[in-house]
Subunit: 310 residues, 2 copies
């Protein structure tokens, strides 16, 4: 199939490059490192084997991109307001748009921007970073789950999963809501708590007080999903997430990196929306709401600093 990648960063760059290496036609939208990639190609330093695309199809402007069968959107969700400008050139009837983004509620909002378009969620389980122009550093993991949100032709979702597998990626088709909320079980505690307490995942789990708190926050999600009749998010999964994270090397989640580098945090989709949905279902998540309030405070205070220094 012909693929487009909107947001060629640590995640979009990785999956797109792997698909291209395995022979798919992949068109990359680049921003800051467009010139660099034109000259030097796109490198992937990877625990699964490093490689370089010498001459990928790259663009600085999505208006120059062709219509695609599948578009992987791997922008930060804080940039989704750019989609009405970026996405239309890549769409033709039947295009599947896969939102490889964090949080809950992105499909709902993007669907409102593009009412007729087929959407799926891409849940990436990957530790990767874009450390310099044209260079993706893939440290570990790398699987991706695809959850169909509004695509009526399941063929294309299955074909996407097949072609990802052909590219050596562990890919699966999963139930949309369950997948998004299972990912939230990890994302909601670890993203925000590492920012609020200025630490990494390992420190949170080493202290008995915060280890217990992380579990309680995860259990808030278990109870909320139960109230929303979403299956597959249970206490066993919580324990699995904690044990899995125990086994990880100390990790700074994406929100911690966003905070450290002065970028906006993905508060809307990682906290506000799921907290509101849980509350609307009669099962609020007080600890996660509190975490959101703390993060909003921190972002507001930093905004003041920035304002006063200019």
């Amino acid at each position: 199939m012909r693929y487009g990648v909107i947001g060629t960063g640590a995640v979009g760059g990785f999956y797109g490059a792997r698909l291209a290496r395995s022979g798919q036609e992949v068109h990359f939208l680049l921003h800051r490192d467009y010139e660099y990639v034109c000259r030097h190609g796109l490198s992937v330093d990877s625990c699964d084997g490093s490689f370089r695309l010498e001459h990928p199809y790259v663009y600085a402007d999505s208006a120059q991109m062709p219509p695609c069968d599948v578009v992987l959107v791997a922008l930060k969700s804080t940039n989704n307001h750019m989609l009405p400008r970026l996405l239309p050139p890549l769409l033709r009837p039947g295009t599947l748009v896969v939102l490889i983004q964090n949080g809950i509620g992105v499909e709902e909002d993007v669907q409102q921007m593009f009412p007729g378009v087929a959407l799926a969620a891409g849940l990436a389980f990957i530790c990767s970073a874009k450390t310099e122009p044209g260079r993706v550093n893939h440290q570990c993991y790398g699987s991706i789950n695809i959850g169909n949100y509004s695509c009526r032709e399941s063929d294309i979702v299955e074909r996407l999963v097949d072609e990802l597998r052909e590219a050596g990626i562990e890919a699966n088709s999963v139930e949309y809501s369950t997948a998004r909320w299972r990912k939230a079980v990890w994302n909601m505690p670890f993203n925000g708590m590492t920012v609020a307490l200025g630490c990494q995942t390992d420190e949170l789990l080493q202290h008995p007080s915060t280890r217990n708190l992380v579990r309680e926050q995860m259990m808030e999600i278990v109870h909320a999903t139960r109230a929303m009749h979403i299956e597959g998010v249970d206490e066993d999964f919580v324990e699995k997430m904690i044990v899995t994270t125990d086994a990880m090397t100390p990790y700074s989640p994406s929100m911690r990196l966003d905070w450290d580098f002065g970028r906006p945090m993905e508060l809307e989709y990682i906290y506000t929306r799921p907290c509101r949905m849980a509350r609307d279902a009669g099962c609020p998540m007080p600890r996660l709401e509190m975490l959101e309030a703390e993060l909003r405070f921190m972002e507001g205070e930093r905004g003041k600093d920035k304002g006063s220094s200019h």
Copy 2:
């Protein structure tokens, strides 16, 4: 009456000095600034009028102190393990010991140390600091409520209130549990949140997210006290605390000062005990429990830093 003051700091120094100025016999236990006060007296710089006690009764060792009618204990509650050594010389049958300390549960624990002794809580509403040796800086407020905990002779409690009033202090006798928990309504959100977010009271109330969070934390106490059948802690009181704090100049609560100066925080009585009591009563306070977990994490991390630097 004859008074003893254990802990001549910002609070004990203030009330003791005011009682002494009004003619009461007050014996002060001093620690670091004993020598200084022997030579230069005890100064109170106060919004209500500054003064100095030229030759107060001061002691470096409580063994030298006489038995007293009333002992004001104004140590940090983190130093209460010192009471079995400090307090006995000041006790005679009938001595009233007033714990002018923050939190919930101090009387219970001190009563276990001194089973027969008459105890009362002293709830001080005061902004004061000990800025240098022998010098109390009283910025504003200054009232004190006395809540009888285990004193069978109410005479002495009333006489204490009278003599405080004669000293120009706004003093009242109040119901013990209600008073302690009403104070917790302010103390629990503001002490910890100013540490967790590195801010003062005004910033917490200016941000909509944390203003709402502070109110929700206060409401957790309202609900918990209801479950414990403690009266007088209601939503109106919560609103009053918020409006009162809005009107205050930006303030760093005692826990924030403790944190900033590298002193241990009063986590046990300000968080652990009230949270446990609420949970035992079937009405846990999740946001305040989370705040405690964050503070314990911060204290633990700082402990590690200290450990590694020595």
